[in-house]
């Protein structure tokens, strides 16, 4: 087991720089999710940790050792690929035992380790099948089995669930997490799905355009996003972010709409409020907004309401099924103390 330290990592292709000094630590045994929109550099970062991409600047350390110039096979890592990368011409058994065989372990040892891993993953009946005879979920398990037989210091996952259907994805999410608890290994998990990151990780690293936006435990990112990007990216449905002018304990969102503010900030701001933090209140409640309902979507567990007031669009989420329908005028109030405020210029959190 080992800790991973990323220090001031940069990556350039020719003159194009795609990663601009990313630094963070992964503690021994920690499960960290790397999340961000596509093209943010999260997969590149993972591949740099694996040794599949050259490092242009900065260092990657695994277990206290700088591994920039270490071959992938000597980094003591295992990786689960997005398309699983199972060797199509080898059986499940051979796929899982390949790395041990390369390491020159005895046949008995290989057999034993493969059997243990297969048992953990429920793959024992399938050991002699070829990859193409397996379902998507089984292939996914083989890919993980191939990783765990080696007892690596660090597991790397490159969007391993994105090729599975929705129900299986939820199931595998739990399985990977419980496997992590059981093995106690350090894991780095790349995903573009913030729900996956929120549900699985001890800590989340949010990236955008080759930069680290924020790193922290899931709920910290949800409760106190450090900037407008993280605020909008974490949480579903996304946070309402409304431009306005702050001053005198108030924020002015439009000519005839102001909301109270528990902040002394002034100037151009982005006012953020999560849809689930808007509540229906009686007409005339102080600090409330009157808006016209334009969209109502119900999933059964929750009701998503899109409404408009002047040029502003607001989304709200209710779990108690209020009798709201399209065209209604409703009165909404941000729950006190749950709003976020960001500087319009720097996009950074100011309250």
């Amino acid at each position: 087991m080992a800790q991973v330290t990323i220090h001031d990592l940069t990556k350039s292709y020719g003159t194009t720089q795609v990663m601009h000094g990313v630094s963070f630590d992964v503690a021994d045994g920690e499960f960290v999710a790397l999340v961000g929109p596509s093209g943010c550099g999260k997969s590149t970062l993972l591949r740099m940790i694996a040794g599949l991409e050259d490092i242009s600047g900065g260092t990657v350390s695994i277990g206290g050792r700088v591994v920039n110039e270490v071959e992938p096979k000597e980094r003591d890592i295992a990786m689960v690929f997005q398309n699983y990368a199972l060797y199509p011409h080898m059986s499940v058994r051979e796929n899982m035992g390949f790395s041990l065989k390369l390491r020159g372990e005895s046949r008995a040892d290989i057999e034993k380790n493969v059997a243990i891993a297969a048992e953990i993953l429920g793959l024992t009946p399938y050991l002699d099948r070829m990859p193409k005879q397996l379902s998507g979920g089984q292939r996914q398990r083989v890919a993980m089995g191939r990783a765990i037989v080696r007892h690596p210091a660090v597991f790397l996952f490159d969007e391993p669930l994105s090729n599975l259907d929705a129900a299986l994805r939820v199931q595998m999410r739990a399985e990977i997490r419980s496997l992590h608890e059981r093995l106690g290994s350090t894991s780095i998990f790349v995903t573009h799905d913030q729900v996956e990151a929120m549900t699985m990780a001890d800590r989340i690293v949010v990236m955008r355009a080759g930069r680290l936006e924020q790193a922290g435990p899931p709920l910290e990112l949800y409760d106190r996003p450090q900037n407008a990007f993280v605020a909008g990216f974490i949480g579903s449905p996304a946070m309402n972010l409304l431009p306005g002018q702050a001053g005198g304990g108030q924020v002015r969102l439009s000519a005839d709409l102001t909301l109270p503010l528990d902040s002394t900030a002034t100037g151009s701001v982005l006012y953020g409020i999560r849809p689930e933090h808007l509540e229906l209140v009686p007409t005339g409640t102080p600090g409330s907004i009157i808006a016209k309902v334009v969209v109502v979507e119900s999933t059964g567990t929750a009701m998503f309401v899109g409404c408009k007031l002047a040029e502003i669009t607001l989304h709200a989420l209710f779990t108690d099924r209020p009798p709201v329908k399209r065209g209604d005028m409703i009165v909404l109030r941000p729950r006190p103390g749950l709003s976020h405020l960001f500087d319009a210029e720097t996009q950074m959190r100011i309250g």
Partner: protein
């Protein structure tokens, strides 16, 4: 019958007719040659046209494979020694060229796709560009080079020239095969602890099977059918292949059409076998080789 059904019937009839015409165009001449090879000499030169052998005979084949025979009243010397030598030469040079070409292309194309080395792209473009260079452009200096090296009329010489002629296409083909292969498989093998070369041997080559077969078929067919190269470089029966020997049957004192057709049929047996059993690979290979 409804109009739509009538129309469908007419379409099907047209398609069937078209397919029949296409079959006659493609196979008819070969069939006609087969008929001639099975027709007795005197029936060959009769005025009556028969579309199938009325009194089939193996006599032309027997002549090729050793039987002496009389023709126009004269005892004719057996052509078996020459035919045997040429058949062997064709087989040896084609197989040797195929094995060497596929081996070099299988390894080289992978290096062109997956390894970075100085001059990689320029070298690849230069090699593929030679596909547009007619054989004769290099044949004349090559002739003198081969004489100087003492490689005229040797298996080594002919095989080397075949390889140089068919390698560009083989490289082009294998490169497209490797490009279509997911890189993550090879990355998984590196992380599993395999060296790059071991990855090539254990992961890449086994998966490139169909591509290698296609490549081998195309190379073999090109070598088997070569005429111009052996015409220049194989002056004697030491290396002269069937393609050069068979036309020489014409220029003897008289033309034995039955014998020529029989020899031709023998010469097209290997290609026909390849097409019958491996046409899927062949067509895939041609498609990959022809498209971008």
């Amino acid at each position: 019958m409804t109009p739509r059904a009538t129309k469908r019937l007419a379409t099907n009839a047209a398609l069937t007719l078209g397919a029949a015409l296409l079959l006659i165009w493609s196979l008819g001449p070969i069939y006609w040659s087969l008929v001639a090879s099975l027709t007795p000499p005197n029936a060959l030169i009769s005025d009556n046209l028969h579309l199938w052998p009325v009194t089939p005979t193996w006599e032309h084949y027997a002549k090729l494979f050793g039987a002496t025979s009389t023709s126009q009243g004269n005892q004719v010397q057996s052509v078996w020694p020459q035919f045997r030598a040429a058949l062997l030469n064709s087989i040896i040079t084609s197989l040797a060229a195929t094995i060497v070409t596929v081996a070099i292309a299988a390894v080289g194309a992978w290096a062109f796709v997956r390894l970075k080395f100085p001059g990689r792209d320029a070298l690849f473009i230069a090699v593929v560009a030679t596909l547009a260079v007619p054989g004769f452009t290099v044949l004349i200096p090559l002739y003198r080079l081969m004489i100087a090296a003492g490689l005229i009329d040797t298996y080594t010489g002919v095989t080397l020239i075949y390889v140089s002629a068919f390698l560009p296409l083989a490289l082009w083909l294998m490169r497209s095969v490797y490009q279509a292969m997911p890189l993550s498989l090879e990355e998984a093998a590196w992380i599993d602890g395999a060296s790059k070369f071991y990855t090539l041997l254990r992961i890449v080559l086994p998966l490139a099977g169909p591509g290698l077969v296609a490549c081998a078929i195309l190379t073999f067919l090109s070598a088997w059918g070569q005429f111009m190269i052996p015409l220049v470089f194989s002056p004697s029966l030491a290396t002269k292949p069937l393609t050069v020997l068979i036309p020489e049957f014409v220029t003897r004192n008289y033309v034995d059409y039955g014998l020529m057709n029989a020899a031709g049929i023998i010469a097209i047996v290997p290609p026909i076998i390849l097409v019958l059993f491996l046409n899927r690979f062949l067509v895939q290979g041609l498609m990959a080789g022809a498209s971008k």
